[in-house]
Amino acid sequence: MRNSARAPSTGLALRLGKAGLAVNALGIFAFLYVPILILIVFSFNDTRTVARMTGLSLQWYEKLFVNRDLLAAARNSLIIALTSTLVATVMGTLTALGMDRFHFRLRKTFDTVLYLPIVIPEIVMGISLLLFFNLAFFPVIQLISGASLSLGLWTILIGHIAFNIPFVYVIVRARLVGFDRTLEEAARDLGADEWRTFWRVTFPLLLPGILGGALMAFTLSLDDFLVTVFTAGTASPTMPLYIYSLVRRGVTPEINALSTVLLLASMGLIVLSLAAQRRE
């Protein structure tokens, strides 16, 4: 602003630039939210159309809560998300601690392996697990124990743990970078043993990172489609598989109602994550 007298063209360009930024922002937010708002509005429609509002009704929500397939899918998704989050959070956190504080053979190699699941296309991870279970894991188990296994909830779970470990690892490791280790030394000097130091000093300081990693894992697992679809077999779909089968068939206000419920659930998760961040 100070130099507007000297370079009026710069001042004009700056003002045009500011207006352009505002228009662009408005356009993007409209682009992101208009489809979502329309989706919510039509979930309250009283006929089977998503083109015109003909009247208000809650019938599509009522149908959701008596839909057995949907409830089963929701239950499957929650079981898998909670279990895979728990296992991946423990393993990912231990790994972050081990990689951050100790030097050992193959450490560099393992670091690369930990980043790979984040980088490679998800569909490749999905088909690799499909091949692995069908052509290696099941035959080997059958050879050893005679049990014949097939794809199901437990194979989905194995896949979800595999892609969740790296994400928890990366997030907790980032938290360890700024970690003040003199705090641990102080606790040791004051006579706390290693176990006590970990639980009383290290763990509470790492907790926001661990919670952040867990929340990320939970969301990724709830959302995952590609790894799930290749490890699910024929029975027991999860929520994304169930939604996919509905969405492929067409557009109906039932899907709108279901989507609205899921939208509210993910907004709840955001509030949770913001609360976790505020703890820092």
């Binding site: 710069t10 050992f104 998800e122």
Partner: protein
């Protein structure tokens, strides 16, 4: 003290062991298996032929113009989507970065909500808008602008639109993180020294916020080039990309070896592309 340090070096591997063992069995081994399967003949009813018959036929088949075309089209779509996301997402990051602190967190929240929302739900939101019996057609028919519903969906445009809709938040988040750290008074300093806005942006702001742009490009390009959900739902079987092609080999086509060869080609392309891209981006703060 020596006893202590020896103890330490043994504890590192112990902490890492569960995850290492898990990922070797359920991530590395399956990938090795993809490599092996891509070099053997398929079975008559799916799976692989036993005993295994080695072949490189599936790699040769990848060079069929049909498949080369689909690979190129996927790359073209991914580049277009990445370009649109970065070119609109960056100014949005600047807009949010310049906003007053209180407004800023609300605006970031507006970017985060789609980011955390189920991807299928968002793809569906776009689908119901464009569908023949959907929102846009309903509106246009309602005001009498058209008599017949337009076919807005199941073409390359709707796939690109769906992908931009799906991945735009992934581009905004890392770019905003870089822009927020950038000291905007530097732009003022440059302008005081006589640089015009464009020059100040290209010479100062862009180089200093480049890490965010680099991250945004990778975060959008990698998932988009191998995307399955969006081309499947927004393309309705009419827009073939690598992801839908691979999926078909493991579904109706039941050609696991060919699907494996394709997956490896995709993975190689993405990994080599990302490494090369990071190198070029590192080499100097040259604009994209």
């Amino acid at each position: 003290m020596t006893g202590g340090s020896e103890n330490r070096s043994r504890r590192g591997p112990l902490l890492v062991l569960p995850a290492a063992a898990y990922l070797v069995v359920f991530f590395v081994l399956p990938l090795v298996l993809v490599l092996v399967i891509s070099f053997v003949e398929r079975g008559r009813a799916g799976g692989v032929r036993t005993p295994l018959v080695p072949t490189i036929a599936y790699y040769i088949r990848l060079f069929d113009p049909l498949y080369i075309g689909i690979f190129l089209k996927s790359v073209r779509i991914a580049l277009l989507v990445t370009g649109v996301c970065v070119l609109t997402g960056y100014p949005l990051g600047v807009f949010i970065g310049r906003a007053p602190a209180r407004v800023r967190s609300s605006l970031m929240m507006l970017v985060m909500i789609p980011f955390w929302t189920n991807f299928l739900v968002r793809t569906y939101a776009m689908k119901q808008l464009l569908a023949a019996e959907g929102g846009v057609n309903g509106l246009l028919l309602g005001i009498g602008l058209i008599q017949e519903p337009l076919s807005l969906i199941f073409n390359e445009f709707s796939v690109v639109l769906g992908l931009v809709y799906g991945y735009l938040p992934f581009a905004v988040l890392p770019m905003y993180a870089s822009i927020e750290k950038f000291d905007l008074s530097l732009m003022e300093a440059a302008s005081d020294l006589g640089a015009n806005l464009r020059r100040a942006f290209l010479r100062i702001m862009l180089p200093l916020t480049l890490p965010g742009v680099v991250a945004a490009v990778v975060l959008v390009f990698v998932p988009v080039v191998g995307a399955f959900i969006t081309p499947d739902i927004m393309g309705g079987g009419k827009v073939e990309m690598i992801g839908t092609l691979i999926n078909r080999q493991f579904g109706v086509a039941r050609n696991w070896p060919f699907g494996s060869a394709m997956s490896l080609a995709l993975m190689l392309m993405v990994v080599v592309g990302v490494i090369y891209y990071f190198r070029t981006a590192d080499e100097g703060a040259r604009p994209l």
